[in-house]
Symmetry: C2
Subunit: 218 residues, 2 copies
């Protein structure tokens, strides 16, 4: 077990597990469903990844590095463009969100599933704290630092609560629950990520400005 190999079947196990875990959660998926979906024997998942929980962790960690890099790169890029005065709240939030939208719209369904899985973990009272922090806290604190610079009058506590609200709005978008579809009678589609992010950016930016001061920048 715990081989670092990446045979084609091994990748397909990860892909199918990603999709099913995102949809039904950890306990809602059996190794046999995953194996069947990947077209392999049940024992192969154990051979490559060990216990079921190890497979879950492997799925969760697989794309984390790439995601963090693309978000951090987006932040650095907008910071360089802004020069000495630093980027605006909108620009920082855009750097935080757009890489996700792009990942969801590349046509690579795997990324959409992976982000839905993040939503599942982030919203889970049981898994949330333990699993998210390890992989994403460093990056998030980087963004919060940028926001602190853009909102110099902000109290630290307020900054964190505002991030919490941003994170919640984002999480629900990643989960694609389809609730907005039914509620709006078809006017909004949860699969229309561009519309979701286009609305989320000004919405959350205005929230940050209101709660964290910045009267001069309205």
């Amino acid at each position: 077990m715990n081989k670092k190999s990446s045979s084609p079947k091994s990748e397909r196990i990860l892909d199918v597990a990603e999709e099913l875990f995102a949809m039904h959660g950890y306990d809602g998926v059996t190794l046999r469903q995953i194996a069947t979906g990947a077209g392999v024997d049940v024992a192969l998942a154990s051979y490559h990844f060990g216990k079921k929980m190890d497979l879950f962790n492997a799925v969760f960690a697989r794309r984390a590095g790439e995601l963090n890099e693309s978000r951090l790169s987006a932040l650095r890029q907008c910071q360089e463009r802004a020069g000495k005065k630093g980027p605006t709240v909108e620009q920082i939030i855009e750097a935080f969100l757009r890489p996700l939208e792009i990942a969801q719209e590349t046509g690579d369904e795997g990324w959409t599933n992976y982000l839905a899985l993040i939503a599942y973990v982030n919203n889970s009272p049981y898994w949330g704290e333990k699993m998210m922090s390890k992989l994403f806290d460093k990056l998030v604190l980087e963004f919060i630092a940028a926001l602190r610079t853009a909102l110099p009058d902000a109290r630290d506590e307020d900054l964190y609560w505002c991030y919490h609200n941003l994170s919640g709005a984002l999480t629900l978008t990643l989960a694609q629950t389809g609730r907005i579809d039914k509620l709006s009678g078809g006017k909004c589609r949860s699969s229309d990520f561009q519309a979701a992010y286009d609305h989320m950016i000004p919405f959350t930016a205005a929230g940050f400005r209101k709660v964290c001061g910045g009267k001069g920048k309205g």
Copy 2:
């Protein structure tokens, strides 16, 4: 099965199921865990509620009516107070959120668990659409109608997306993932509901104003 009785043990089954389902989700909980937690035999749950899914539905529906009533009553009350000109965005959002905060802070742990369960369902791609709509859409549309009156220039589509962001921020708060605790190094606690709602109201209200027009009311 499907008896309408409410013996003391029957209620305890619902209470324990509520807590465990909220924590681990539908598939993460076994009837035997619930029975053990409630101090009864495993067959008793089936006797009172039928299949496992029926028990889940019973838990989910038990407090829905009371919750809807208290929220609707809060809305009507703030509408009466506001008189002819109608309530502000902040007042409407406050009516939407405060009943939840109160429920979480009555000391009755059951309500906290129930709201965490709502968060679980609302964020689930699989359960979200089917289960939430039936019980809560009517009330939500009532609030959106009130917001439409307070923001007369808003496009309907924008109104729904803004509600989506509000719903996301709220959902993450209800789930109490503890992520904000670790992230802020203890400056924010996810169990401090008052702080959460005190920040959420101005945050989301500013978002609605920004996205849905209302320049004259800023």
